[in-house]
Amino acid sequence: MASGSTDKRVIVIGGGLAGLAATVRIAEAGIPVDLFSLVPVKRSHSVCAQGGINACNEVSRQQGYSEYEHFDETIYGGDFLADQHPVLEMANWAPRIIDLLDRMGVPFNRTAEGNRDLRLFGGSLFKRTHFAGATTGQQLIYALDEQVRRYESEGLVRKYEFWEFLWPVLTDGESAKRCAGIVAQDMRTMQIRSFRSDAVIMATGGCGLVFGKSTNSVMCTGAAAARCFKAGVFYGNPEMIQVHPTAIPGADKLRLMSESARGEGGRVWVPAIKNTDGSWGPHPRSGDDPKTIPTSERYYFLEEKYPAYGNIVPRDIATREIFDICVNHGMGVAKGNQVYLDLTHRDPEYLTRKLEGILEIYEKFVGDDPRFTPMRIFPGVHYSMGGLYTVFTKGRYEPANPLAKHKSGSRPPLGSEIGLGMQPGAMNNMMTNIEGIYAFGEVNFAYHGANRLGANALLSCIFDGLFCGVSVTNYIRDGLPGKKPASGLPGSVFDEFVNQEEAKQAKLLSTVKSGASAETNPYAIGKELGDEMTAACTVVREAGRLQQCIANIESLKGRFARLNLSDSAAWTNQSLSYTRAVGDMLSLAEAVAKGSLARRESRGAHYRSDFQQRNDAEFMKTTLTKYDPASNSVSVEFVSIDADLIAPAVRNYGKKDDSSPKAAAKPALSGV
């Protein structure tokens, strides 16, 4: 059954910051939007962001900062992997975005005089991060949600909440396939149907659940992106996965612990026994109450290995060392993946004053008061720089040669007018290789290269929605000359895809068996995939282990083909939905593992112990992965990037931080 509306509509999948910003922008142009989300949009994962959103501002500008420097920091932070023109446009737009959010009523923190307050964040010497209490993401998404509700009241937006995107409807375009709508399922009634639209915006967020537990919300499976991938959309830089050094391990999720805990004197240690040769070995009582472990049996491994900087080594080093102790040496607390982050030697009142909000989170979810009990922490998968591969039209700025890295305080080579980085309104901005499918927000591979700077994600989400929303509007209005709009296509085009999804579902439902063994239990397969990906594809990667991981994914694929569903309900069957997602996550996992293996260098978040140097000649390129339906497998190639604006430089600010432990002690490190 296909919807029969005759007008041109846009479908937005995902109601996080990216999807909501796009919806507002497109509805405002008078084009009706159908907005799909697994959850009421207000509950999307974007609510989790705590830290803030970056933009050049009047204060920092008067100190010598500029949009250009924000651009430069982002390229540098991303270790020169991002296409550069889009990043320039984003940085130039940032102040406009903050102004707009301000007009929408976001309660940004204020100075005494009533101006927007700012904080220091990783990757910059200037205060350029705007924030609203400790829940910036929540406040931003609410502001956009409210604007969308306004258009919903006016009838321009139709929300499909608790609807799951299953597959894009593709039809023959002029030369290649183009998108004409989607197939989706009502998660309550389980009805599967198609929806027509000439443009579909994927704004479905990240894929943390591929790694089992992460700092992401439970909806962040990456399945929506994986379905597009399997339908023919290319996926870029899948291996670029950001891991945050200090998360609170939980049975259900990893919750972020701000790095300011280390900045305020937190010491990292594990219980261990010192061997006669001076090396450390596992402790027999490593799971016991930490207060019963004598000082001589505490291994302060960061302090020992990095005497100069101790616990405030840069983020990536801390992450790797903690990982090494637990995974390679089996010396984690209680033999698990956790180490102590200990503040108990500090005055409790001082801690309350300095870190109250942060320590509260720990107490709320763990039940222990960190002022008196050491916290247990472990690095956690946090953000996916990679995503659906998109293109763009360059803007006006074309220097003859790429410039050298910008120096703070020197004159920026250009201003911040609109259209220098990307051509506003160009129909292909952030469109994927399949005409009519766009990717906005975290699911878009653009902007962050090999590593994302704290507080740049919220910016990229809203920028995509607003700036590229206009591109979608133009595509809908003028981009279909000679082509039949989706509303005029025969129903059979859509029925084919509905049938495909119904057949897949029927197949899954036919496997129902209660009490299935772990071998064929979808929840067990999902969990094992997560464990394997975390072990092989996060902090430290190496060829042999990656090959083993790829083989293990193959065997999980085999088990998935034989699985047993545990619920046959024809109403609100969450197991079915989860199981289907696991099947799609397997392909995304394969892309991550194969991308990691093919990129024989270390860059940004991607660290190969067998190739520790960055190799620009071979790998300053986008990892482009493609899915082959015939073999149900993923292939990898490398394609050139747009590096026209800034010449690559060695990324060594880790060193600068190293030489100045004070800088690392500042909350500037608490990037999230």
């Binding site: 507002v24 007009r103 923190n109 939980g250």
Partner: protein, 281 residues
Amino acid sequence: MSTHTPVDPAAIARMANRKTAKAGRTVIFRIKRCDGPGKPSYWQDFKVQVPKNANVISCLQQIALSPVTTGGQPSTPVVWESGCLEEVCGSCTMVINGSVRQSCSCLIDDYAPSEGDTLTLEPMSKFPVVRDLWVDRARLFNNLKRVKAWVPIDGTYASGSGPKESPEDQETRYVLSTCMSCGCCLEACPQFNVEADESKWNTDFIGAHAISQARLFNMHETGKRLAAERLEALSGAGGVSDCGNAQNCVKVCPKRIPLTESIAAMGRAVVFHKVKQFFNR
């Protein structure tokens, strides 16, 4: 810890349980289930071996791995809503041992510290059940439309910054703006009387959360432009005068939003609005 420390004696007692709770003990999850709208409810018990730091969601996940009741009867994974698992999205609200709260931040140690203890999970009672612990909260969101809970900006094209604001006003608005539409305040409110027959439910009352949102937007320089319309919505049937001032809402709000303050403020504003209207006739 200071601001998080509950004042409610029952909550303090629950926190004390953390000290005695032993990891690995068995806890019975008594869950009120329902296969769909119009279907009868039934109870099922599941045994869960509880690790340290377990919360209700991690235990429901454990049950999903192998859903077998205490009587040995194979069952299905329990259906419930969740999202952030950080108590910031509002999804996972349910009734736990008789009181409404988020399940992601509900530590088992607090509620069931001893071997064999029982924890009871029920769906919220003032919203129609979808399945098991998942209820339909559309009404919460619809009531936000009734009070036009948005700032009427001209559009999204650049036209300068928003109004300046004092830090005090920002702090007041920020707290109001952390409402995550979880529904605890409606579940606890005696104005939401429900009967066995769903079709007879009186769902007019707009609810504390929406009254508080009206206050939030009436405080904003630009938001104010719709103040009269919001007060109009709050002055009719189901508006602020329907509130019996039982103050249950403010006690259960997980974001500690000063709901009774908002209700009082909007109550006064509605009276002014009516008086003004009377003289302007």
